[in-house]
Amino acid sequence: MKAKLYILLSCTVLLLSSCVKEEITSSDTRRGNFEALWQLMDQRYCFFDYKKQTLGVDWDEVHGRYEAMINDKMTNMQLFEVLCNMVGELKDGHVNLTASYDLGRNWSYHEDYDKNLDEEVVEGYLGKGNDYMFASSLKYRILDDNIGYVRCESFSNGIGDGNLSVMFDNLKGCNGLILDMRGNGGGSLDTAEKLASRFTNEKTLVGYVYHKTGKGHNDFSDPVEVFVEPSKGVRWQKRVVVLTNRETFSAANDFVKSMKRFPNVTVMGDKTGGGSGLPFSQELPNGWGVRYSAVVFLDADKQQIEFGIEPDVYVSLNQDDVVKGIDTIIETARNYLVN
């Protein structure tokens, strides 16, 4: 009996001594928060190798360079600025630092390029009052030349299956469809996939996805195929032009990736903004939020789309047209579909 008790007590002591504790133990000091951010990104960010190839970012070198800027006398705002600049080296729109007073970001993916979108001009195409209709968050209208125009500004709000079926039923008499994804900064991947499923009649391989499996920069799972299956609701069978600009980002970028696989689809406008990483969130000892890309999406050829997708036809917004209330990109798409 004593032996059994000793075994039980030994097991208890063994269990007590094997605590599962925090991995990142930096303290809430200037240097502690710096080290916590660097380490968190080092272990969890998914594009280090790709960013080294494309941007020459060496994360160890970044540590040394920015560590020299950290001191205990700097203010919170100065620390925030330095840390934002550090993660900004990755040029990833999905990487953010969040404090109560600011959102640290690198939006160079669209800020460094022409916008190729004028909201007022687009509103002119949609009209006023009941000129256009809603399908959940989508706005749509039939233009004068019998081309359907659908404005999709975001995937942040869900789109109902019924709404989509009614919309496509209303547009079925059109000779072609313009799907305007300019300025769409993303949202739900499921919503993007739901819309894409209206444009294919067969299950189509649209890309691959993989994620980090450990702390090493190259600890990845095997890529898994991603398919879009045809919707059981009303599906569009005629030609489609998808309009893009540098603000077409994240889930919208993923949507364009899928649409490019379908035979009736042409992508026009500017290159998309990219953002092919699925962002996760973590935090620093001082409570600042950290968002970073954790899961990688590739196109169907297993190529990175983190820095965007090329359109089939490059078209820019002509400012002389804008003054006249004309959207050069919409007009190019209309001509393409009419002819």
Partner: protein, 271 residues
């Protein structure tokens, strides 16, 4: 992994259904609160702490099972929730779940002290435990929550001390349960729930759990004080110290809870 799950479920079904002859029974319900310390590195690198609520229902019955006499057949249902905050105090997190255990504790020995007015009893045996729960972090976007599901075979031991005080027959018991092996759900290190569920790529999410990657234990200390002399109803005071830990797919988790509960125990005499 499917084989392990099937085996555990089959074992639970067979063992539960196996003939158990009647005996003395005790049912107790206690409710209370305490504190919790939860770490889940899928959601945050840091432990969140805060108050917790805990409800526990326990049944015990002396039975004969598998031809063995004097088995204390026990069921334990724990439902708890915790309201947590990060160390910086600017993000809330909520954790909760339900744990159901059935145990077959063999009465191993008895020690009587002084004029037979006080007695110690030692029980030990296997316990089968299922747990469903989760942790929700209100700030995170694509990784806002972590689901918890476990099915484990535990080893449990219980020391019970019956003694007389204030003309009442009181009972103080301490029980320890340690998960030995089982199966648990866990996403991979950087895997999204979108991949696991929308893309149905969840083949790596059922993991084999053992003492090495799930060093956990649950402590229960209960005192039953009969309401009146020779009453079949007793006031129960319980302390529950649950130290649940795991490291699956390089994701670290711990949930340390301390709960102080009060409730009643009802004894049913042998028919």
């Amino acid at each position: 992994m499917k084989r392990i799950v099937s085996f555990l479920l089959l074992m639970a079904t067979v063992v539960s259904a196996y003939g158990q002859t009647g005996g003395e029974r005790a049912h107790s319900v206690v409710f209370g609160g305490g504190g919790a310390d939860v770490l889940d590195t899928y959601l945050s690198p840091y432990s969140y702490t805060g108050p917790a609520l805990h409800l526990q229902r326990q049944t015990e019955r002396t039975v004969r099972t598998f031809g063995i006499d004097d088995i204390c057949f026990q069921t334990l249902l724990d439902i708890d929730c915790a309201f947590l905050e990060n160390p910086a105090g600017n993000v809330d997190e909520y954790a909760g779940g339900a744990r159901f255990s059935t145990a077959w504790l063999k009465h191993l020995s008895n020690w009587k002290l002084g004029m037979n007015t006080s007695a110690f009893s030692l029980y030990a045996g296997p316990m089968l435990t299922g747990y469903l729960g989760g942790v929700y972090n209100e700030r995170n976007g694509n990784n806002p929550a972590q689901g918890k599901a476990e099915l484990t075979v535990d080893l449990s031991a219980k020391l019970k001390w019956d003694f007389n005080l204030l003309r009442r027959r009181m009972s103080l018991s301490y029980q320890l349960a340690v998960p030995l092996i089982g199966v648990a759900f866990s996403p991979e290190y950087g895997q999204s729930y979108y991949e696991a569920f929308s893309l149905e790529d969840g083949h790596t999410n059922a993991v084999f759990a053992h003492v090495g990657n799930m060093p956990s234990m649950r402590h229960l200390l209960s005192l039953d004080i009969p309401i009146r002399k020779a009453s079949s109803t007793a006031l129960r005071l319980t302390y529950a110290g649950y130290f649940m830990q795991s490291e699956f797919n390089k994701l670290r988790y711990h949930s340390y809870t301390h709960s102080f509960m009060v409730g009643v125990t009802k004894y049913f005499l042998r028919k």
